[in-house]
């Protein structure tokens, strides 16, 4: 009896400490994911169709980082610096961005089905890209024709959604429905255009839309890195406000949060982030939906922990999927968008069944 009382008292005294410990436990997922990611990057660079030994791979990396001390073969240098590393780094950036974007959209639109492409960014970017591929015309020409066209059409689509929904105080249901409508509109536009196009061009356009890391160059990475890092930093900075949005619009307003303005701002940042990824890679599906949900199962809904974890897990999933895509029917390479979906669906269903049971 006295033992039990002591135990109770002890527990009561440390309520705050219990909470602090409980909260730090959430950081464990982040602490586990970060080194895993580094390990995966190393692994992904070492695995592929070309017959290059692991030793050669790391000599090639060291040669670039510390010139003069190492001498790599021409083949290994090419494989690492021109073929594998760009797509692995883009996988890291895109996975990070899509994972966080998905987590943010779910809270901002108060809907577990929300994902980075819910505002029609994938189909509008796809339409912009098809337009450039089929007609060879765009708002900016040259080597960035397809990329800029995809980026601009993605932003046009988001712009239309914000213009319509801000008149309605940016209610989540309104935004989602307008997003769905825009999605269908751009899909129909795309189909209409492909219907009359030359078969080779249609094939190129279709491949563009599946989502692939293979066409990424170092210049692309240099362009997209600041966009992705700035957007992600902004979203992390707003993590507390995103938590409050999840508690309901009325309550958020009563805490002094300007709800319509915050919601629109967050959606603009997410649109910029996702457009900045999609225009280089095409629409890589499912990472943005699966990564935040898997993290929710383990650490709950606090966005200060959820967003970094979802970003890291997104990168882990995407790099893994891309490595599988490069090697599973080697030397042929599958588009990573197909693999993320094939890997993500059973994983998510398994985890949800586990939780309910």
């Amino acid at each position: 009896m006295t033992d039990k009382n002591l135990l109770n008292n002890d527990r009561r005294d440390s309520l705050k400490n219990q909470y602090v410990k409980y909260t730090y436990r959430k950081a464990i997922l982040i602490i586990v994911l970060a080194p895993l990611l580094v390990f995966l990057i190393g692994g992904a660079v070492s695995i592929g169709s070309a017959e290059v030994s692991w030793g050669q791979i790391y000599i090639a990396i060291m040669e670039r980082l510390f010139p003069g001390n190492y001498q790599a073969s021409r083949l290994s240098w090419l494989v690492v610096w021109e073929l594998r590393l760009p797509r692995v780094i883009m996988g890291l950036l895109a996975g990070l961005g899509l994972g966080m974007a998905g987590g943010v959209m779910q809270s901002v639109l108060r809907n577990p089905l929300a994902e980075p492409y819910i505002l029609g960014i994938a189909s509008s970017a796809g339409f912009g890209a098809s337009l450039a591929i089929l007609l060879g015309k765009g708002l900016i020409g040259g080597q960035y024709l397809i990329i800029t066209n995809a980026f601009i059409f993605a932003l046009i689509c988001s712009g239309i959604i914000f213009a319509i929904s801000s008149g309605k105080r940016a209610k989540p249901d309104t935004v989602i429905l307008i997003g769905v409508a825009m999605n269908f509109f751009f899909q129909a536009m795309n189909t209409l255009m492909l219907y009359f196009a030359d078969p080779d061009a249609v094939k190129t356009a279709m491949f563009w839309m599946v989502g692939d890391l293979g066409r990424v160059t170092w210049q692309n990475i240099a362009l997209t890195t600041p966009v992705i890092l700035l957007c992600c930093t902004f979203l992390l900075w707003k993590a507390n406000d995103i938590n409050i949005l999840d508690a309901g619009d009325d309550y958020a307003i009563s805490l002094g949060v300007r709800v319509p303005k915050l919601r629109i701002t967050l959606m603009i940042i997410v649109s910029l982030l996702v457009s900045g990824i999609v225009c280089f890679t095409g629409a890589i599906g499912f990472v943005g939906l699966v990564a935040p949900h898997i993290c929710r199962i383990f650490i709950g809904g606090d966005n200060r922990f959820l967003l970094p974890a979802a970003g890291l897990l997104g990168a882990v999933l995407l790099i893994t999927a891309d490595t599988v895509a490069r090697t599973i029917i080697s030397p042929a390479i599958l588009p990573v968008g197909i693999v993320t979906t094939f890997l993500g669906v059973p994983l998510l269903i398994y985890l949800i069944m586990q939780k309910k049971g």
């Binding site: 705050k16 602090v20 809270s107 507390n240 409050i244 309901g248 009563s254 805490l255 002094g256 606090d302």
Partner: protein, 259 residues
């Protein structure tokens, strides 16, 4: 803190909900807003907290119009307790209550915020569920968490929208006692929308009785709770009895004459 409402009007999609509502609230008042469903009670407290912007009239907070006060300062003046939780994703009770500290804190919560939350959790007897997901709790436990969250916000006034409707009678009395203590010990003012007339009569200093967006009657419970008032506002025949110094309302049947 003094709150003054003057001619507040609110229209929802061209249907008038509030029609020139005026009243004043002094320090340490416990005010109950009663009235039938759809009489504008919830709208009224949302208008006070600026969750809804009234189309007409003025709200003065210590003599200053509320339109000139910054959002964050309004959040330091009023804490709002909604009818039910509205979270979509999981959120534990401690974090939910910590959210009430938002107007006072930055990106990370400091030790004072955590101590404050711990104190409120103990006061509301929520220790056993402090780390549970709020969505897994019963309706009554959720309501206690929402009230705890408002107390943690450390405002001069609480605006509560039917905060005890899902509690059993024992917990209703427990929560009402805590609220009365807040009014007495910490000099708060409370405005509470409530359907239970007997609870209102027993615990509140002043009753505002609403009908169709107007104040039908206002005053002490003995003044407001008359058989004619209740019959005219609710369309119900009741018997009023006095017991231990409180007015009690016993409903009989729907009134035949009015409505």
């Amino acid at each position: 803190m003094k709150l003054k409402l003057k001619d507040i009007e609110f229209t929802y999609s061209s249907v008038p909900v509030l029609n020139k509502i005026s009243f004043e609230v002094q320090d340490t008042e416990f005010i109950g807003i009663i009235g039938p469903n759809g009489s504008g009670k919830s709208t009224l407290i949302k208008c006070i907290d600026q969750i809804l912007k009234p189309q007409g009239g003025t709200i003065l907070l210590d003599g200053e119009t509320i339109n000139n006060i910054k959002n964050n300062d309004i959040a330091k003046a009023f804490a709002y307790v909604p009818q039910k939780t509205d979270t979509v994703f999981s959120l534990n009770v401690f974090d939910a209550i910590l959210m009430g500290r938002t107007p006072h804190s930055g990106w990370r919560n400091n030790q004072y915020d955590l101590d404050m939350v711990e104190k409120v959790i103990k006061r509301m007897n929520l220790e056993d569920i402090a780390l549970r997901d709020i969505k897994e709790l019963s309706g009554g436990q959720q309501q206690k968490v929402l009230i705890a969250r408002a107390i943690a916000q450390q405002t001069k006034m609480l605006l509560l929208d039917e905060p005890v409707s899902n509690l059993d009678i024992r917990h209703q009395l427990e929560v009402m006692d805590i609220l009365v203590e807040l009014v007495r010990d910490e000099k708060l003012s409370l405005i509470m929308v409530i359907h239970d007339l007997n609870l209102a009569s027993r615990f509140m200093n002043r009753i505002i009785m609403m009908k169709d967006g107007n104040i039908f009657a206002a005053g002490s419970s003995a003044e407001v709770f008359s058989e004619t008032n209740i019959s005219q506002v609710y369309g119900v025949d009741v018997k009023i009895i006095e017991e231990e110094g409180f007015v009690h309302i016993i409903p009989f049947r729907k009134a035949v004459c009015s409505l």
